[in-house]
């Protein structure tokens, strides 16, 4: 009797299981259906370089989409004064953004420029097939290969080169994003941008000028000299900042090319309303920092409610302020005092600039280059400024209201050059008044040589409406010795 009951029980469970399974199989069918979408017509894909993305797919039907991508090995700028030979898809790092919809049949032609030295290929994570296309796209310099694939899964996907040595190809910038929009497209937003993080390994330390070769050992040790958005320091700051107006919704397609580091992607002063976790279909809401693995992506969107500059960072924060992973979103429009009072400073960090900070007794490096012209000093000073001062005092010396005093047309600066030298040498704490506004902040002592201090101050004094003082190294050592 008991046995019978057990059998019935098992039977019922079996039926329930069957029902469950059949339920599941209808789900599966729906997914398989993407493969059966018929394409209607042919179109050339619009490809864009970062930070821009092509127009949304909207409600267009699935099509045969022609993508032509050229591989270029070319010299570029990592940061002021530092050159690097990038290997690129389409001439930019990250490579051109490809926008498709689910069911598209992509006909992909990969061309390898004749002047290139190396064979390359492409592995698109959006491809269902061996190697993600890498097997079919391996192409020698001066040649091209064509293959095609159907987009089966909506989401944001990384593509990258997968030619040996894979790590080196990726470390030199060979990655980008391909978006597969769902049927009918993603919900409409006002602004869309393309950001991709990458880590770089150079023979010289961060900031060492000249053409810097790739350093394999540092890459193996995961000891990055630069961690940047869109291939270089400053690709998204100053005049290159991305923009929006108050009240608009901004969507960022964020990828991480790696090769090594996971990104803790964060926008200072914003909360992501929606995050497509890992670029897939799962939505998370009200997110502060989203994790983006190497070879992964995320789609984030948020409404910008108040004006100001919002700093985009990898919140592994030394990467942001010392290695370059820093971008800007500039929002213009009406203030909303109810949402943001304006008296507190933006973010809670003390951005320190790229130069390593030391305690006052640290030993200064000695290197002197006499007989520099004013133009040479200004040029060298500008590089030092970008590396050391820029994070707080900003690109045009405008500073940040209530936090970091301006250097542009600064009465405090122009009044006393020795005081300015002293502040760079020894740092400054406490309240000061600059152009009528009170500041109470901390500036740390900067580890710069006398020569570098002279150059950077000469640059500052000869920019932005200041009094054109020409500071030389002897003035710096004089101030140093009076202490």
């Amino acid at each position: 009797m008991k046995n019978l009951r057990n059998i019935v029980k098992t039977g019922l469970m079996g039926i329930a299981l069957l029902l469950f399974v059949s339920c599941n199989s209808t789900e599966e069918k729906k997914i398989i259906d993407f493969a059966k979408i018929q394409v209607q017509g042919t179109m050339d894909a619009e490809l864009t370089s970062p930070p821009f993305v092509p127009a949304p797919v909207g409600d267009r039907a699935a099509k045969k989409l022609i993508v032509n991508m050229e591989i270029l090995e070319q010299e570029g700028t990592m940061t002021d004064g530092v050159k690097y030979v990038y290997w690129t898809f389409g001439g930019s790092v990250p490579g051109s953004f490809i926008r498709t919809r689910v069911g598209d049949e992509v006909e992909f032609t990969l061309s390898n420029h004749p002047d290139n030295k190396l064979p390359h290929n492409i592995d698109l994570h959006a491809v269902t097939g061996p190697g993600g296309g890498a097997t079919s796209s391996f192409v020698a310099p001066g040649h091209e290969k064509t293959f095609s694939f159907k987009t089966l899964n909506p989401g944001l996907y990384v593509y990258h080169c997968a030619t040996a040595p894979v790590g080196m190809h990726i470390a030199n910038g060979m990655y980008g994003l391909i978006l597969v929009e769902p049927e009918g497209g993603l919900p409409k937003v006002d602004k869309e941008y393309y950001i991709m993080q990458g880590d770089f390994y150079t023979k010289g330390e961060n900031g060492e000028p000249g053409l810097q070769p790739f350093d394999m050992q540092k890459a193996v040790d995961e000891d990055a000299d630069y961690v940047v958005f869109n291939g270089k320091v400053g690709a998204l700051t100053g005049d290159n900042a991305i923009t929006a107006n108050v009240g608009e919704t901004v969507r960022l397609y964020v990828g991480n090319g790696g090769p090594n580091l996971t990104s803790s992607f964060h926008v200072i002063g914003e909360i992501f309303d929606n995050v497509h976790i890992e670029g897939g279909s799962l939505l998370n809401k009200n997110v502060q920092t989203t994790s983006i693995p190497a070879g992964g992506a995320a789609i984030v969107d948020f409404k910008v409610d108040v004006p100001g500059t919002f700093i985009i960072v990898d919140h592994a924060i030394f990467r942001a302020f010392n290695k370059g992973a820093l971008g800007m979103l500039k929002v213009t429009g009406e203030e909303n005092k109810q949402l943001y009072s304006g008296v507190k400073q933006e973010g809670i960090y003390h951005p320190e600039g790229g130069t390593i900070q030391t305690m006052p007794n640290g030993e200064a490096k000695k290197e002197v280059n006499l007989n520099k012209t004013l133009a040479e000093k200004v040029a060298s000073g500008k590089q030092i400024y970008t590396k050391t001062c820029f994070a707080c005092h900003q690109a045009n010396g405008e500073g940040i209201a209530n936090a970091f005093p301006p250097l542009a047309k600064s009465d405090y600066l122009n009044a006393d050059v020795k005081r300015a030298i002293d502040i760079v040498l020894n740092g400054k704490t406490g309240e000061i008044t600059v152009n009528g506004a009170k500041y109470n902040s901390i500036m740390t002592k900067q580890t710069l040589t006398d020569d570098e201090i002279a150059d950077v101050l000469t640059y500052v004094y000869n920019s932005w409406g200041n009094n054109k003082t020409n500071v030389d190294a002897s003035m710096v050592s004089e101030v140093k010795n009076t202490h």
């Binding site: 002047d115 030295k117 064979p119 290929n121 097997t135 020698a140 030619t163």
Partner: protein
């Protein structure tokens, strides 16, 4: 007057130097070694042979083309050279202004290179022979474990347009051979015997044993990276391909 004299001496000196470096060969003493891609079980034995000191130059190839018109750019069969064959030359028999007679000839197919060597009573080196000579630096016959040696090779990948440089512009190695690294890629007789599928990560478990798993997995080793590049380029070409960065030299038994 003095200047003219000096100039003449210079020119004379240049001529003799040129005459010397044309098709000059050095002898290479054979041995058994483990190739870059290899494991201990995959030792290769090289017999004694002679190798060209320099890659074949534009000047030498111009001469060859004028003697063998079937290799003129306008005459060459599509089967034996693709559309970029000698594309940088001004015409069938002349260089462009920006090209040097002393630069290595590039944009030549394997068929053309092979024929050139045969016309000289020589042949192309095998991959194993080429790699054997190329593992030397200035001082050592096998410098592959030295960081500097590998860095030198890797740094070439970052120097643009080295195919315009003249022969002899890199270092003279242990055997007296120049330019194996740092100038151009070079054709080998059996370039396609190493099967790189194009999907480098798959090759990790390929049992084609020329590309063994341990080398790819233990890729912390700089020497593997430098070597991978050469195998990758060889794996990416076909015999009719020509490239801006691909030249050749000959050997003789």
């Amino acid at each position: 007057m003095k200047t003219i004299l000096r100039l003449t001496i210079c020119v004379l000196f240049f001529w003799t130097a040129n005459a010397n470096c044309q098709s000059k060969m050095v002898s290479i003493k054979g041995a058994t070694y483990t190739p870059l891609y290899g494991r201990d079980s995959l030792q290769v034995t090289i017999a004694d042979f002679y190798m060209d000191v320099y890659p074949v130059t534009n000047e030498e190839f111009l001469q060859f083309v004028s003697e063998n018109p079937i290799w003129k750019r306008s005459k060459v069969k599509k089967l034996f050279a693709d559309a970029t064959y000698l594309i940088k030359w001004k015409s069938d028999t002349a260089l462009n202004e920006n090209q040097s007679l002393k630069a290595p000839v590039t944009n030549v197919s394997w068929f053309a290179a092979n024929d050139y060597c045969e016309s000289q009573g020589k042949r192309l080196p095998t991959v194993d022979e080429w790699e054997y000579v190329a593992m030397a630096n200035e001082k050592l016959p096998d410098a592959r474990t030295l960081k500097k040696y590998n860095e030198y090779i890797l740094s070439w990948y970052e120097k643009p347009k080295t195919f315009n440089n003249e022969i002899g512009s890199t270092f003279k190695n242990y055997w007296g051979v120049y330019d194996l690294h740092g100038l151009v890629w070079e054709w080998t007789l059996d370039f396609n015997s190493v099967l790189v599928s194009g999907e480098s990560r798959k090759d990790v478990d390929n049992d084609s044993n020329l590309f063994c798993g341990s080398a790819a997995i233990g890729a912390t080793d700089l020497m593997n990276y430098a070597a991978f590049m050469r195998y990758a380029i060889r794996g990416s070409v076909k015999a009719k391909y020509t490239m801006n960065n691909l030249g050749f030299r000959c050997v003789k038994d």
